[in-house]
């Protein structure tokens, strides 16, 4: 037994130094996975900042404002700057080169208003043009204010109480905390971290199994007196270590990432400090271990690295698609989410970002699933190793 444990360490040490010497692959993984998250964070913050600055600008684009002096008067009293919309605004909105909704005023607006004919005012935006869509609600509210003001004035002239118009009052009460609201934007961060873990494990897992087979070094390896399970455990340990290293790097990469957030609101909402980073790491380590074992199990039957890459696409797809259940919020959080690897980790990390506490059940179930997957994967590789060596 002691001899076997020594063999595990020997294999672990060799595989680790082997994997860490594969500089080009490591560099690719680090750049594509670890830097990806902070870069996306930066992009999001840029978007939010531009939305915020637009909200602060208090500008409104109107086509045909000359037809509506009353409306212009109202808008200017609300301290809005009224701008004439460009002639080809529809085409530009469609192409996403124009990012504000446009209010279209009909030619007989003023006359119809006086007659009490309620003229139709259009707010033109393109729902595929997200930035124009974001401002639509603001403009709607603004124009609603104009309608209300006109109505109140008419009622007041007739001596009717304004309260008749509002038999009940509606008030919004948002239960979401600042952090919860932020996850609508930062909700994809766990996804990026998880991809980093996956790609960290992928290359090393394939190299120690299918790669070893392709090089013709698996057969000589098995001619050593070390136990099969010890060889596999060492290999798995090395792959898991590499993957965990990438996981840790990726989680920590968001710490400096938030200093460069351009939007103050987002920076205030995005609570990601050392505590969150530590929780992320704790959540991800079992997943890294499980992914290492599963990828090795998938690759051990493949003759070449290339074949293994093709086969492992199934695992990559599963890990990429499962968290989308969460991202797209399909049917909310369901109990089974905790039993699905990748999805469970995504759920837990989202909870951490929301600032919610993790219950015992939420920690134990995904951990058990990951441990079971790891054991199964390592067992399978150990079983197949000998067959793979001579085939």
């Amino acid at each position: 037994m002691r001899r076997s444990l020594a063999a595990v360490l020997v294999v672990l040490r060799k595989e680790l130094s082997d994997a860490l010497r594969d500089r080009r692959t490591l560099a690719t993984v680090v750049v594509s996975s670890v830097l990806m998250g902070p870069l996306v964070l930066l992009a999001i913050s840029g978007l939010v900042a531009s939305l915020e600055s637009r909200a602060e600008q208090r500008e409104v684009y109107v086509a045909g404002i000359a037809n509506a002096p009353t409306l212009r008067n109202f808008l200017e009293r609300q301290t809005y700057i009224v701008k004439e919309a460009p002639a080809d605004f529809e085409a530009r909105l469609r192409r996403s080169t124009f990012s504000d909704p446009v209010v279209v005023v009909p030619a007989d607006f003023e006359a119809a208003l006086v007659r009490g004919d309620s003229p139709v005012v259009e707010i033109v935006s393109d729902s595929a043009n997200q930035r124009s869509e974001a401002s639509t609600t603001r403009i709607e509210r603004l124009l609603g204010g104009f309608s209300r003001e006109r109505a109140l004035l008419s009622l007041a002239l007739r001596g009717v109480s304004a309260q008749l118009l509002e038999p009940m009052q509606i008030e919004d009460r948002d239960l979401a905390s600042t952090q919860t609201r932020a996850t609508r934007i930062t909700g994809m961060l766990p996804y990026f971290v998880m991809m980093a873990v996956l790609y960290g494990a992928l290359n090393a897992a394939l190299d120690t199994t299918a790669g070893e087979r392709e090089r013709g070094s698996l057969e000589p390896l098995l001619m050593n007196p070390a136990e099969r399970w010890a060889l596999v455990a060492g290999k798995w340990g090395a792959v898991a270590c590499v993957s965990m290293l990438i996981a840790v790097l990726s989680c920590l990469s968001f710490l400096p990432g938030q200093w460069v957030l351009r939007s103050d609101t987002l920076a205030a909402m995005f609570q990601y400090g050392p505590r969150e980073a530590a929780l992320f790491i704790v959540i991800l380590l079992p997943l890294a271990a499980a992914l290492a074992a599963v990828l090795m199990a998938v690759a051990i039957r493949c003759r070449t690295f290339k074949e293994a890459q093709a086969t492992s696409t199934v695992v990559v797809l599963a890990v990429s698609l499962l968290p989308l259940v969460n991202v797209f919020d399909l049917g909310g959080e369901a109990p089974w989410h905790l039993w699905a690897p990748a999805l469970a980790q995504n759920t837990l990390m989202t909870r951490v970002l929301k600032g919610e506490a993790l219950g015992a059940e939420q920690v134990v179930i995904p951990l058990t699933v990951c441990l079971a997957l790891t054991a199964l994967g390592v067992w399978y590789v150990a079983r197949e190793l000998q067959r793979a060596a001579v085939k």
Binding site: A7, V10, R215, G216, S217, P220, M223, P225, V390, K391
Partner: protein
Amino acid sequence: MIEIRSVAKSFAAPAPPRRATWAGRGSGERGPAAGADAIDGADAARTPAREPRVHAVRDVSLDAPDGRITGLLGPNGAGKTTTLRMLAALIAPDAGTMRVDGIDVVARPREVLARTGFLSDSRGLYPRLTARENIVYYGALHGMEREAADARAQDLARMFDMTALLDRRAAGFSQGERMKTALARALVHDPANIVLDEPTNGLDVLATRALRESLRWLRTPEGGSKCIVFSTHIMQEVERLCDSVVVVARGRTVATGAVAELLAETGESDFEEAFVKLAFGPERAIAHDKNEHRVEPPRGGGAPP
């Protein structure tokens, strides 16, 4: 000391639609049935699943004493590699026994592996490790201390004239350099028994000579009186190096003895001729003769005259 008694091994033949797997085989890699001579049709009818079997090894026996070099000579596909893989406990034999220094291979494989150095058919190195690291890694897997393994790597490097290679990464090694490193790796734990599967494959004349010298030295009492088994399909190798020869063909041991004894047995003066006679039967040897001396091709499918 290595004793192999009447081992046999058959594999399920690959199903016809899977013939495409040929394309997937890398260079130097062999399937388990690489030594197969024919698919046994009679067996196919008997097995309930109607699965045709490939008999890679039918009846191979071999005795290799200490301090001697025993050649395992056979044509391509005779079953040499499969036999040696069974000896290395990589595949279990269907029948027969194998003992190394009196230890049964099937029952106690790890003890056998601990006292044997195998240079297998596939001899891949780790390209990102140096030659030294490749060798020391195997030493460590044999339970050696790092320092001891390192010192041993140094000694082996001197023996195989590869000291300059030791601290270079294996990625750019030539065929001969790879072979030397693989051999040093197989011998790192100073095993009493050495099993080499076609070690001269891909080596040039000088490298082959150097290898021969090393093996001769390992056979001597100063070299440790090793028991060396050496598989090859090259007659000259056997003539120059082996104390005794085991000829295998179509999965069976067809002759055993020193080169001189085999020559006497077949009544030939040329060892190649003797080998063809032993491995393929007298018909083939004579048919070959006919082709050489007659103008007309023989009729009747090479029947004896």
